[in-house]
Each structure stands twice: as structure tokens, then as C-alpha cells.
Symmetry: D2
């Protein structure tokens, strides 16, 4: 990649930005839950086709693959995830979502792009267009993957299982990125482990229902569930070394439907994060011990059920590929906006693509919030309190320069690997 | 009431039982939530009309009043409640409910007659028919009231406010009854307080949402709610004298919609029972102190909201009227099946009718379970463990002699007050 | 008992009061723990000897029996308990205790007559003197028992086992009384059960100790014990019917000796009160289930130990004897100060004497606090908050008329049973 | 330091070991609590005097300084801490401690060298003797400091405040070491922060006492304290990022003295560990918020008291000095036994000496357990479960080669800084 090549490929971006902004706002207004991204996938596929990609839809249900075969050379896979979350938007934005969806338990829930996948999709759509327009500057094959079901639903594995690599072969390298509440314009990279492993457990606690006024005839699942929630806190506080890292979150807890009826059961979803396999196993064993122990202590009529409903391993970057790409980013953006990423407790299934293909992959972070606000909050120690994190109902990235930065990262990364025609 | 009169009125009951059994099974199969009892009310109104009653429907939405003006004499009000509960039936009966409804929060929920109101309605429909057929044996006015929305929804007050007593005047006495898991054939009475006061509180706890992996940026409402549930247990265990009585039940608790998102809020419904005003006030004050205290302890971004969504005072029987009726029951059924009722922690809004009219009322209990099973369980100390209580998903009364007993009690009670024609 | 007889026996009381007040203050200043009442017992024995009783000391260690054989007639046993509690006095009285003692675990603790046994002893000493002086007015045998070790230590059973009834035979009736925070001058009686059964459990929870900074190498007994304490609250709140009564109190809890060391074990003492055998068994089974369940949930290296360190059954009054005595009290004191006693959740081993002898016994309550203050507090609903209960470090009875009332009750009760000479 | 010099200084060690082993066993058998180390200090001072040191005792009560002025050259301070812990030894060793002491609250407690300070003292005593014997090989001044009161009692600061540096001036470098449950023969070093900051809080929770059977008249401090213990777990589990580190331990908790008395107060000691000032402040603020919030929630009659009874900042090694010393250790012991130390959650006041003097300091760790056992346990993931940590009642180092290694480290470190005579 020479500066002149890159300059040529990025040249149309200025003119394209208003239209990409409209795409982002449209996706933001119409978020769709995991594996229900039909409208989103259709729009993204339509654009790839317009840009001249060979488009394959319906991979793992709602996944999309765009293939651009451009002569001999390496194959680069660029991936964006496209699903939204069952969160009720509270950003107050003019284009805030009011959408609703049906979650995996059949419940009607609000839906919001609270994790920035609308931005991810827009970035990749914009980058795919630029790389297609500038195809005379590079040689090789470009795989553009819009992945469904990233939010705990295993969409990456599902696409691989559904034959993703049978269509146009395996890539030589995989790139992906995530929007984070850092300063817009910043790019953050990290060698090795960058994001946590995650395990999702669905726990059903069995009590014995009855009249709300006669608890002595029941085993109250609300009290049992409350005990479990509090006891789960002791895993991180007492069973994991301070110098190790783990998170145990009870994201949802549901008991009963009426104030004067003691329900039969309680259902909770527990999410576990870890960066180390031994810690991960210790936490999962402790969750199981506590859930079963609390049920026995309560005199539950039958043992609880613990269903592992999802698991992502750590997101891990190839060290050499990461370091090389970091240098490329520094060269393009300047050293004052490319920083080392912290270890992120969030999880991703991005690494599945590289693992399944047996090739290096690199995942980096792109800031999307007002730099002044974010940096002041960091300096004054108010960052965690004041800046909405991913998954917050108030997660509201600014559009500029966020849109531009995340498109340029993808173009720069792809071109760093694709052969210059006439060179290789 | 002379034996011969009563005998004459009850004579058609044997022949009517199969048809009443069919009514009961039909109502059981088609339970309807509070104030949604349209099908139930229509069927009960249709029958009253067939029996010659002047029928008024739509009182407080789905309430029904049947009036039988039968010459000069006292006015007797017989009341049955007709709504069902958001409970998923687990009786395994061939006529078990599979119905669903929409609860007050707009959620789709299973519905079941887990409190026996289907039996209450059938009893009163059967008694109304017999009293109409035997109208030559008595004089006065009979008010037959099918009340909607008893399950915490204030249906009795709603009917009074909607003009119930404007239609045919106030009664001179009010009678009502409840099916309980005692031996079928038994009738239980009690002077003074027979059932508890109940208060229903809807508590919204405000946390601060975020990504499930970054609890340090949030105030986790699941942990806050769990703490509240456990702390509420200390009201009864530590703040109420062992020689006083109270119940504090968290009937429902709902937090979050996804495993990897920490929600903004938790919502719980708390039901309080008491038999004494000072105890009631102490419990309610403690709930408020604990809910606010826990929110402050958690560092909640704003105070919790406590909404009093329903309150029934104690169900209290006129002592003289109760004692007189008890004697009448003993005479009719025999002393070996008429017993003193225990103090019931359940609540009722039955007393609203007598209070609003300023007249005596009497409420009694009728057993509906297999006597052999119930009495053996009592004797062996397994009653509370083995016999499903009201509101249990396994609440399954036997039909015989339950149907007959509850019809006879109403007829006997009504005739004990209505003037014998040619006598008064 | 004729009024003239009683008047004659009580006549010396006025003159004796100053000296009895001094005795009370002396006992209050020198409280002694269960079975360590050597100074107290010596003083009470000395007085009985001075009054002409045949005195037996050292029964069950520190128990005292005074026998006054006064011709043919019934045998009446009057009993007072004499031990104090490991409580640090905070009454601010000029004669407040600063005494210390050694508890059953060898620990040095403050000691206080926080339960009024100093008053009980003074009352009985005063009554014994009057009955001895007035012995020409009655015939029979008087047994004056100063019982040690009432506070959970089983002193009554110990005296019986140590041969109490071998010395002067069994009594025909047993009388006893307790000072309560009611209005001074009031006497409260109750047929049947008057006080609760009590069970004391010493629970040792085994964790695994280690450095305070490395909880992951330990099983933290402080967290385990805290969980047990909170879970025990659910027995009364969820497992006992609101219409039944029970109390579960963790009176003491001790874990660790340094802030930066996680201890191996936690030790707690649990006190259970109940009025009904089925409830009692249910509570004790629940304590055991919870203690073992919590230890398993915590991953404790070995099971906890639960040692039953004491148990008193209910204190129960012979109904006929109680009713007769109540009439006598009304006659002597006036109906405006003799009231029905409430059911008391405190416990006593007084009933052991009557049970062991197979004879009726009656136990009543005597108020000892300023009537104006107590009655105003009752009226305004501040009684429980403002009036220190038995065992409170601020339990401070007033001396007058408390001293007089409790002496007269014993004299009146004894004379109600003892034969009038020349009559029987 | 040339090999020949070092060899000459260490030559007498073989012959001295039996006597040093006897010293260790004697110290182990006679542990003394913080600032009560009179016997220990006297013995160590006696030995220094025998070795020709100028000895100053009574610094900060029981601290000892030995000064060896040996010509011109740098001043090196070697420090060992000498106090023991209130732990009951359970090692089963033939020389196990049965000692008792009086803790800071006047309570009689068992005492044990559960943190290895007996080894620290023996090491330094042995090294001091060797360096004195070999004084012809070096020039400069040696300060040997036996520090009392390291276990949370601030002994290092106390010695500095009491004029430690006024006696023989400030050192140019400070060295110290700690025995850990690693393989005997291993030495572990770390640049920068090596041990955590610690804060100790004494929390008094005020309830309102009363009779154990009448909780409704009380505010039960046992329930309040249990709630606080459980809620404190949520600081680490919810308020600190997984990628940060903190420990919150309730090391001691004491409530009540009798099973049937509800106490007035509960007292607990909380120990906090952190490696970062922002985290430290967040944890301390959360402890305060929770303790006050829980008291308010319980309706406590007055606010709790939180007394900061001790605080150590992080133990931090000068990076250059540490790296230089690590190289020296590798040269002497071999690279196969000198490893990077992990970040230790334990705390130390060692850094106070360097900070107060404004000079570099280095603190390292020395293993003291059977290598076979420790390494196998590590490999099989049983280390934390099977190997007793510092402060465990089963902490039992092996004597060989532990004694030798810790003496050699001190000699090697001192000689690495002290001028070779005739050279500088």
C-alpha cells in the first residue's frame, strides 16, 4: 500500500458520507434482534450488489457474504455484525428506535442498536463500496461478511457451519472492529487477548407455588432467586483472586405474574466473563455449586436446571498481524490517535472466523463519542459514571468523524494485505 | 324457614346437578382475568334471565346484578366473585385450562381458576335458580351479585361506586362464601375477623443499565432487587411480634431482558396481609423504609417508586348474624360438618358490600377436597405440604358433594332471612 | 384466708420495706451469672435462717431451699430465680452494675440483672419473712426455693435432679412470678400456656482460613455466617403460618480475631421460641436444613455442627388453679389492676417444678415500671419503642410500689392454699 | 562483589545453620503480637551485640536497630519484621505454638507466627552475623532493623517517627524480603508495585438490644451486620472493573454474648486491598456508603461509626534497583530459581523506610515450602486449595533450604551495594 494508492481509494468518501449517514440512521431506527435481521440484511445485500459484489444471502438464516474476485492475490475477510439488543432506547435522539421484537422466549420486547452494530454495518458497507470502486489499485479476493446473531447467539459459528467458507474459500486474514465509547477519531489495538470469554447460563429454580398469604405451604421462588443473586456476588468477591478477572452478571430475573400468588418457578440468565480458562472453569463450577446449594437450602421440591445457552471463547489477536496493522494505522491516522486498547470485559464471536479458517485475525476498537466530553470525563474520573457504555439505553455515538474513521480503518487494513497489481 | 319449606326449595337440585357440573367445567375451561370476565358474565346473566331475574349487566364493566322482587319483605344480597388468576394450570385434569390473557401490564399470561371462583359462580347460579323456582315459599327481594375483579382489583368497591345499590336499593344483609381446601361437605364459620387485610404495592427500583460485562459502570437493579427481597423477610421475622400476624410476599419480580445487558430498572409486586391496623401500618412503613434504604445503599441514581395498587381491609363478620347462621347451618347439615373457621391470611373484598350498605354481612368457607385425603393429611401433619392451597397451579376441587354443599348453604342462608309469605 | 388473717400477715411490710429496698439494690449491684450465684445464694440463705427456716444450700450447686414446717396442712412451693445475664448495664442508675463474670465459654463478660431476678429474689425473701412471722395464721408446710441458672441453663431441672423433693417432699401446688415492663401495681394472669418453649442451638460453621488478601484460597466463614443469619429470617417469614407464632434469634455471632486474617470458623448461638410442638419441630428442622445447606453452598470443607445447648418447654398454668388465684388477686388488689396477661414469647423453666411433682402450678406477671409512662406509651403506640424490655441493658424497674406488689402476691397466693389453723 | 568475596562471607553459614534452626524454632514457639515482641526483640538484640553491632532497642517500643560502621561507603538498611498474629496454630508441628496474647481490644487470643516473621527474623539475624564476620570484605555502614508491629499496626512509620534515622543517618538503599508458600530455594522479584495497599476499618453498627424473644422491640445488630457483610461483597463483584483489582475482607465480626439476648451493637473489622489509588478511593467510598445505608435501612437508632485503624500504601520497588538486584540473584542462585513475582494482594509497610528516607528500596519473595509438593499442586491446579497461604493456621514452611536461601539473599543484596574496600 503506497500513500498514493490509499489516497485514490479513499477519495470518493467525502461525497459518500451524507448517504452513509442516512444508512446509519435508517439502521438505527430499524434495529432487529439476533437472527431476525431480515430488513437489515436485505438492505446491505442490495448495496453490495450495487457495488458489483457476488452476493450470497441466507447464510445461517440472515447472514450475508459479498465476494469480490479481483485477480490473483490474498483473500481478506472483513466482518461486521448486524444484530441489535432487547433494550428500550433512552437516548432522546430524533432518530431513536421505537422498534419492538420477539425475544427467544417469545416475549415482546423493545429493540435498540445499543451496541453500535448499526455503525459496524455502515462502516463495512461504506468500505466495501470504496474498495470495489478502487479495485484497480489492488489484486486478490475480498470477502465482506455481514454476520447475524452476535449478541450471545453464536452467529459466527453458525455462518461457518452453514458453509461460509465453501462459497469462496478460506481467507488468509480476518479483520473486524468494534465501536466503543472512546473519543471519536481514535483507534485502539492490542496484541493477544483483547476481549473476554463469555458463557451464558439459563437457570430455572423450582419452588412450589401457592397463595401469597400462605407462604408456609410453598417454597417461595422469589426468595430463592434473590438468595442466588446475592450469593453469586461472592464468586467474584471471594473465589477469584484479585489479580485474576471475572464478571458474573444476572442480566435477567423473572418470577411470578401476580402480587398475591407465589409462583412455582424463577428463571434467570447469568452471564460470565473471563480471560483465562482456569478462572472460567472455577467460576462456572461455583455458579453450579451455588445454584444447587441454594435450592437445597430452600427445600426446593426438585433440583434447579442450568442450561448453557451460549459461550464465546476469548477474542485473541495474532500478535504479529496486530503489531503490523498498528504500525499501518499509526502511519495513516497519526500516532496521537492510535493507542493501546485496554483489556475489554465484553465478548465477541469474531475470533470464530479466524479459528475456523486457521488463519490470523485482528480485531480493533474505534471511538465514537465527543472527544472533548470523553477526555474530560476520563481526566476528572467521571468516565464510568458519565459516558454510556455499550448496551446502555443511552448509548449514542456521534456520527462525525466516527463514520469516516471506521471506514478508513477497514480500507487501510484490507489494502495492507491485498496485493498491489503489477507488484506481487 | 321450616324444614318443609327448605325441602321444597332444594327438591329440584338433584336433577339440576349434571347441568351445573357442566357449567362448572365450562367456566373452569374458560377462565378470565379481572375485569375481562365477558364470556363468564354473559353466561351467568343469560341463566339469571332464564330463571326470571331482572338482569343488569356491565356494572363496573363486567359485573352482573340479578334482581328478584318477590313481594314485601327483607332484601338479601348473595354474592359470588367470578374472575380467575394469571396462573398456569398444572392439575392434569381433563378439563384443565389452557387459556391465556393479558395482564394489567399488557403481558400475555396463562390464566386459571386457581382460587375456585368458577365454583363460586356455579354455586350462586344454582342457588339463584332454586330460589327463583321456589319463590312461593318466601317473600322479599333477592339480589344476586356476580362480582368481577376480586383478585386484588377492587371489584366490590367498583360495583358500589358504579351504582349497584341505586338499581334495587340496599340489602338488609349480605352473604358470601369461599371454596377452601377443606373436606368436601364441611362448612366453616367464624365471628368477627375471618380474613386478613391486604395491601398491594408495586415497587420500581431504579438502577443504571449498561453492558453485562461492565457492572462498574452501572447500578445493577438485579442485585438491588435481590437485596430488597431478602431484607423484606426481616419485617415479619424481626419487626412484628410473634404474637401478632403479618405476611409480606413478593409475588412478582422482573428485571432485564437479556443475559448480557444490565437493565435500568427492576419491578416487583409486594403483597401484605395483616389482621390489625397497627400491625398493618408498621409493616407498610417498614416496606417503605427498606425499599428506600436499599436503593440508597446501592447508590441508585434516583429514588424508588412505591405505588399502592390495591388494598382490601379485613373481612369481618357481624357476630350476631354469624352465630345465628351457624346455628341454622348446624341444623341443616349436622353438627359434625359445621366447624369454626380458622383465621385466614387470604383477603377478600366481600366486606365492601356490607360496609357500603351499612348492614351486617356474613362470609363463610366451604370445603371442596376429598375428605379422606384431607383429614388423613391433617392428622399426619402433611396438610400444608400435600394439599394444594388456593392460588396453587394444582388447586383441583372435587365436584361432589362440593357443588351441592355450596348451593345449599346459599339457599339456607337466604331463606333464613327472607320472610315466609303469609307469616310476617 | 380471711381479710383479717391477710391483714395481720402483711402488717409488718411497711416497716420492712427500707431494708428490702437495700437488699434489692445490693443484689442489683452484685449480679452473678447462672450457677455462679454464690454471693446471692449465701445472702438469701442467711436471711431464711434468720426467719426461722430450715435451710438447705448447694442444691444443683447454688440453689437454696428454705423449709417452714408449720403443722398439718398442704405444702406450698414459692419459687424465685436468682441469676443475672451477660449484659452491660446502661441504665445510668446510681446503683447500676459494673460487675463482670466468666461465661460458659470462659470469656470475661459484663453482668447485669437485666431480667429482674434481683426483684424476684427480694420479693420472695420479703414474703418468706412475712409468712414466717405470721405463721400462727396458717398451717401446712412452706417451701421457699431460690433457683439458680434460669437463663437458659436448666436450673429448675437441675434442682429436681439434685434431690429437691427428697428433702421435704413434694408440694401440692407451685407458685412463681415474673417482673415485666408493665405498670407498677398491676398483676397479670393467664390460663393455659403463658410463655413460649425455647430451644438454644450452638452452631459452628467451618470455613477454611487464610490471609485476608487471598479469599480465593479460603472458604470465608464471615460470609457463610452472614448468609446463615439472613436465611434464618426466612423461617419465620416464609415457613411458619402468619396465624402461628415463632421467633428465631441469632443472639451471638463470633468470627475471627484480626482484620487481615480470614478465620477458620464462625460460631453463633440461635434461640428459638414457639408455643406449639408442631411449629417447634418445623422451625428446628428448618434451622438444621438451612445451616447445612448454606455450608454446602459455600463449599465448606466439613459440615457444620449444631449442638442443642438448652431447651425449655412451654410455661403452662393449670386452668382451674389460675382462675381461682386470679379471683383472689382481684379481691385483694382490686379488679382495676388485675388483667389478663398476653401470651409471652419469653421462656421459663418454672413449669419444671410442677411437672416433676405432678401438681398444678401457676405463674403470673407483675408490672414494675412507672404507670404514667407505660400507659401513655401504650396509648400512643410507643410502648415497644420506648419501654425497655426484659434483657435490655436499660431495663430499670421502679422500686415502689413494685416491691410491695410482688411481696403481697406471694403472700396472698400462699395463704390462699395454706390451711387456716383450727379450721381444716 | 566478586565471587570470591561472597564465598568468603557465606563460608561460615553451614556451621551456623543448626544454631539458626534452633533460633527459628524458639521464635516459632514464642510468637508475640504487634508491639508486644519483648522476648523476641531482646533475643535478637542480644545476638546483634554478640556480633559486634552497636545496638539500639526500644525504638517504637519494641523495635531494634543494629549499626555496623565499617569505614567509608554506602549505607545499606536490611529490614525484617518480627511480630506474630492472633491465630490458633493448627500445623500439628512438634514445635507448634500454644502461646496466647492480649489483642488491641484487651481480649485474650491465641498467637502464632502464621506469616513467617519468625523466619524473617532468623534470616536477618543469620545474615547480620555473616556480614559482621566478613566485614573485611566490604566498606560502608550496615543498618539491621528488626521492625515490630508490621501486621496492620504501622511499625515501620512508628520507628521512623521515633527517630530511627537520627541514630545512624539515612540509608542509601533499603532491602527486605518475605517468606511465601512457593518452592523452597526460589527467589521472586518484581519491578514497580509488588504488593497491595491496605486499609483497615473498624465498623461499629448500632442496633437496639432487648430480649431474644421480642425482636419487634429491638433493632437486631446481628441481622444488620449480616446484611453489611453480604452487601460488602457487591463492591468487588459490581463496583470494580474486572480489569482492576481489589479485595474487601471482613476479618472479624462480633455480636452479642448470650443466645437469648439481642445485643445493642455489632463490631466488625474490614480489610481493603488495592493496587491503584482511584480504585482504593472507590472501594473506601463504597464501604462507607454501604455501612451507612444498611444502618438506615435497618432503622438503626444512631449512625454507625467507621474508624480507620490502619492503612499501608502499595509496596513499590525501584525499577532500576530491582532489575539490578534480580541480575545479581540470577548470577548467584541460577536462573532456574529466580522468577518474576506475581502481584501480591498482601500488604506490607516495608516501603515506609525507603519513602521516609527518600531512597530506593527493593522487596522480594523467598519460597519456603516443599518444591515437589508445591510444583505438583501448581501443575494440577490444586495450589490454592492445598497449599496453606500466609496467615493460615496451617502455614508451615520447611526449614531447609529455606533458612539458607533467605540468608544468602540478604548477604548477596547487601554486598551488591556495599563498597569493596580498596576498590571504591
Amino acid at each position: 500500500m503506497t500513500p498514493v494508492t490509499l489516497e485514490r481509494v479513499l477519495a470518493p468518501l467525502d461525497a459518500a458520507l451524507p448517504e452513509l449517514e442516512a444508512l446509519y440512521i435508517d439502521l438505527h431506527r430499524h434495529p432487529e434482534l439476533s437472527f431476525a435481521e431480515t430488513r437489515t440484511a436485505a438492505e446491505l445485500a442490495r448495496r453490495l450488489e450495487g457495488d458489483g459484489y457476488e452476493v450470497h444471502t441466507g447464510i445461517a438464516g440472515t447472514g450475508v457474504l459479498g465476494v469480490l474476485r479481483n485477480g490473483e492475490g490474498p483473500t481478506v475477510l472483513l466482518r461486521a455484525d448486524i444484530d441489535a439488543l432487547p433494550v428500550e432506547e433512552k437516548t432522546g435522539l430524533s432518530y431513536a428506535s421505537t422498534a419492538r421484537g420477539t425475544d427467544e422466549h417469545g416475549t415482546d420486547v423493545p429493540v435498540m442498536h445499543a451496541c453500535g452494530h448499526d455503525m459496524h454495518a455502515t462502516w463495512l458497507s461504506g468500505a466495501a463500496a470504496l474498495l470495489a470502486k478502487g479495485r484497480d489499485t489492488w489484486a486478490g479476493t475480498l470477502l465482506v461478511v455481514f454476520q447475524p446473531g452476535e449478541e450471545g447467539a453464536g452467529g459466527a459459528s453458525a455462518m461457518v457451519r452453514d458453509g461460509l467458507f465453501d462459497i469462496a474459500g478460506k481467507p488468509d486474514v480476518v479483520f473486524g472492529q468494534h465501536l466503543v465509547p472512546g473519543p471519536a477519531g481514535w483507534v485502539l489495538t492490542r496484541p493477544g487477548v483483547i476481549m473476554a470469554a463469555t458463557d451464558t447460563l439459563r437457570v430455572t429454580l423450582h419452588g412450589r407455588g401457592g397463595h401469597g398469604s400462605r407462604p408456609e405451604t410453598t417454597v417461595d421462588p422469589a426468595v430463592l432467586a434473590a438468595s442466588v443473586v446475592l450469593k453469586l456476588q461472592t464468586i467474584v468477591s471471594r473465589e477469584i483472586a484479585a489479580t485474576d478477572s471475572a464478571v458474573v452478571t444476572v442480566g435477567s430475573l423473572h418470577v411470578g405474574t401476580a402480587s398475591n400468588v407465589i409462583a412455582d418457578d424463577a428463571v434467570m440468565e447469568v452471564n460470565v466473563r473471563s480471560f483465562d480458562q482456569a478462572v472460567r472453569e472455577r467460576v462456572l463450577a461455583a455458579v453450579e455449586r451455588i445454584v444447587h446449594g441454594e435450592a437445597a437450602t430452600a427445600g426446593a421440591p426438585k433440583p434447579p436446571e442450568i442450561e448453557r445457552s451460549g459461550a464465546y471463547p476469548v477474542t485473541e489477536n495474532d500478535e504479529a498481524a496486530n503489531d503490523a496493522l498498528t504500525e499501518v494505522f499509526r502511519g495513516h491516522f497519526g500516532a496521537d490517535v492510535v493507542y493501546p486498547a485496554p483489556l475489554i470485559t465484553g465478548s465477541e464471536d469474531f475470533s470464530e472466523f479466524g479459528r475456523a479458517a486457521g488463519v490470523p485475525s485482528v480485531f480493533w476498537l474505534v471511538g465514537g463519542f465527543d472527544p472533548q466530553t470523553v477526555i474530560t470525563a476520563m481526566t476528572e474520573g467521571r468516565f464510568e459514571r458519565d459516558i454510556p457504555s455499550n448496551h446502555s439505553p443511552r448509548f449514542a455515538p456521534i456520527l462525525h468523524p466516527t463514520l469516516r474513521t471506521g471506514i478508513e480503518t477497514l480500507v487501510v487494513a484490507a489494502l495492507s494485505k491485498l496485493r498491489h497489481p503489477g507488484v506481487g
